[in-house]
């Protein structure tokens, strides 16, 4: 019997599932999870270009996310610009920032690059927290009601969902194109061994800088979309370390350096986060125990559990599957296929 198989079946099913999700799950709660999932997938896919493919683990990508989030809201606040016009400006600023950051830090490698990115992102966060033009610690707000579609301010989650899905598709398409071209080969060779790559004529610093710029542009777009959806941004939600850490963990969980790894990571992590927030509450809550006369208080929240979740995932990935779930699937799939056919 002729076996029907095409490498496009998986992506087609995935596309159909993503298109139909908000129609099947029509309650605002599930649609919000869908939108959050797409945003996490966009951010992680953007990070994946430099962190996954090139192996340059940035833990300060929130600097681009925050810049992308602040720019449209600042331009709206100052001159009433539509939010959609602020997105490319944010992307340009982020690319410029990536060059400024990349030129000196790509002289460093390994952990030094990661530490440098954390330091820069934290400096920007602290600076924005005291800069009155951008609302200091209070932050900035977008339009309460949209003047038109160009303000990207909608009452329903549905337009955000499909807009984010369109952006994710574009980011994945670009990543797919990068993977297949010389640029993608160079990125993977740099990740494996910079010294060997250079000996083969790979312009290592230039390639890393290009990857960082491309990644920064997409991360900035993700930040702009986040700001448009929430209509608000402050230093912590834009430049906070958790924003960067989430990108790293989502990509690493699914499979850093793979096309669909960030998607898979987001599909697992975002519902998990939603579950912890729902079960344990988003704000501070807790309970007190009297153990043999000693009063012990446990206070926490769903948000605090997110940190525990992230920590646990980091430990599990580092210990058992550094290649992420895509790598695990790549190893197990042939065995499962064989055993299924043998049975």
């Amino acid at each position: 019997m002729k076996r029907f198989y095409s490498p496009w079946i998986g992506p087609c099913l995935l596309a159909a599932g993503l298109l139909l999700y908000p129609i099947i799950f029509s309650s605002p709660f599930y649609r919000d999870i869908g939108v959050t999932f797409l945003l996490a997938a966009i951010s992680a896919s953007a990070w994946n270009i430099v962190g996954g493919y090139a192996g340059q683990v940035s833990v300060g990508h929130s600097m681009f996310f925050g810049l992308g989030a602040y720019t449209p809201l600042l331009l709206y606040t100052l001159w009433g610009w539509p939010l959609i016009a602020g997105i490319p400006v944010g992307m340009l600023l982020s690319v410029a920032l990536s060059v400024v950051i990349g030129l000196p830090t790509f002289r460093l490698s390994g952990h030094y690059f990661s530490m440098a990115t954390i330091a820069v992102a934290e400096l920007i966060r602290i600076y924005f927290g005291t800069w009155t033009l951008v609302g200091a610690a209070i932050g900035l707000q977008g339009p309460a009601t949209g003047r038109g579609w160009w303000d990207l301010t909608f009452r329903s989650e549905l337009p955000y969902y499909y807009m984010f899905l369109g952006v994710l598709t574009f980011v994945l398409y670009v990543t797919f194109a990068v993977e297949r071209r010389r640029f993608g080969f160079y990125l993977r060779s740099i990740k494996a061994s910079e010294r060997a790559a250079r000996s083969l004529g790979v312009p290592v610093r230039q390639t890393k800088l290009q990857a960082l710029a491309l990644s920064a542009a997409f991360t900035s777009a993700a930040g702009s979309l986040y700001a448009a959806k929430t209509g608000f941004i402050d230093p912590d939600s834009g430049f906070g370390i958790l924003v960067s850490v989430q990108m790293v963990i989502v990509a690493a969980l699914g499979g850093a350096g793979t096309l669909f790894g960030p998607l898979l990571g987001a599909a697992i992590l975002i519902p998990l986060q939603a579950a912890t927030n729902t079960w344990f509450g988003g704000s501070d809550s807790g309970f007190t125990l009297n153990i043999f006369g000693v009063i012990v208080s446990f206070h926490g929240s769903g948000a605090a559990l997110t940190f525990i979740l992230y920590g646990g995932i980091i430990v599990l990935i580092a210990r058992f599957e550094p290649g992420g779930l895509c790598e695990l699937w790549r190893r197990l799939a042939p065995r499962l296929w064989k055993s299924a056919h043998a049975a």
């Binding site: 060779s189 494996a192 004529g201 350096g257």
Partner: protein
């Protein structure tokens, strides 16, 4: 001359790993570099490949001064190298590994793939095999294939044949011969005398950062300074009898 390296030196603090070494390589030659461990061969090699910046001296390749040029610039100029420990791109297939080198002269993917396929065929590897699944001989072959894909005019082989079984060694020697027949000039650092005696017509012997002898393989193995460098003082007469350094 294709390569003229004159008075090349490299110091690490007060220690001179290479102390004024000269090497002239004509187009089409195969030259061997030998010497005891720690003689400075690999450091000299790294200077020639642009991996290490020389402290002094001059390296001219095909009329171009490459003394302070990057490894990328060396590769673009036509100098290719392999590493003692093969640095395989583990997550990539054999063909993809070779394509990284092929992209240097063939920027378009299809051209690079076609060129890489021809090189992989020459080295007898399986194109779709994952890099991480290769054993030592495969990795050594892949190292050679990858650098050949950059279409070098001068190939620097750094112990590319070490760690092979006698059968694998014969296959590897045959491979280097095939590469040489395609017009590539080769400088080979090797400890295995069989490789040096079989492949090269001229040998330079390094010791303590200096070139202490040069000539045909047959003459250098009988050179007293070479025997002393390898075996130490008081062993000359014994070695003379065996004919090996």
């Amino acid at each position: 001359m294709l390569l003229e390296a004159s008075k090349v030196s490299k110091a690490f603090g007060d220690f001179w790993a290479v102390a004024g070494a000269d090497l002239n390589v004509g187009e089409g030659e195969i030259i061997g570099l030998i010497g005891p461990n720690g003689a400075g061969k690999s450091t000299f090699f790294n200077c020639l490949a642009g991996d290490t910046l020389p402290t002094g001296g001059r390296i001219v390749f095909d009329g171009k001064d490459l003394t302070r040029a990057s490894p990328e610039a060396h590769a673009r100029a036509g100098i290719g190298r392999t590493f003692q420990v093969p640095m395989t791109f583990e997550d990539m297939s054999v063909l993809d590994n070779v394509m990284v080198g092929a992209f240097l002269r063939h920027p378009h993917r299809d051209d690079a793939r076609e060129h890489a396929r021809r090189i992989v065929e020459l080295t007898g590897l399986r194109p779709d095999q994952p890099g991480r699944s290769l054993g030592t001989p495969g990795r050594k072959r892949l190292g050679i294939a990858r650098v050949l894909a950059t279409e070098p005019r001068l190939l620097l082989l750094d112990e590319a044949l070490a760690g092979l079984t006698p059968t694998e060694l014969q296959e590897a020697i045959a491979l280097v011969r095939r590469v040489h027949e395609t017009g590539v000039t080769i400088v080979i650092v090797e400890h295995i005398m069989e490789v040096i005696m079989t492949l090269t017509r001229r040998v330079l012997v390094f010791n303590q950062g200096h070139v202490i002898a040069s000539g045909t393989p047959e003459t250098v193995v009988r050179d007293e300074a070479v025997i002393e460098a390898y075996l130490g003082r008081g062993t000359r007469s014994q070695s003379r009898a065996s004919g090996n350094p």
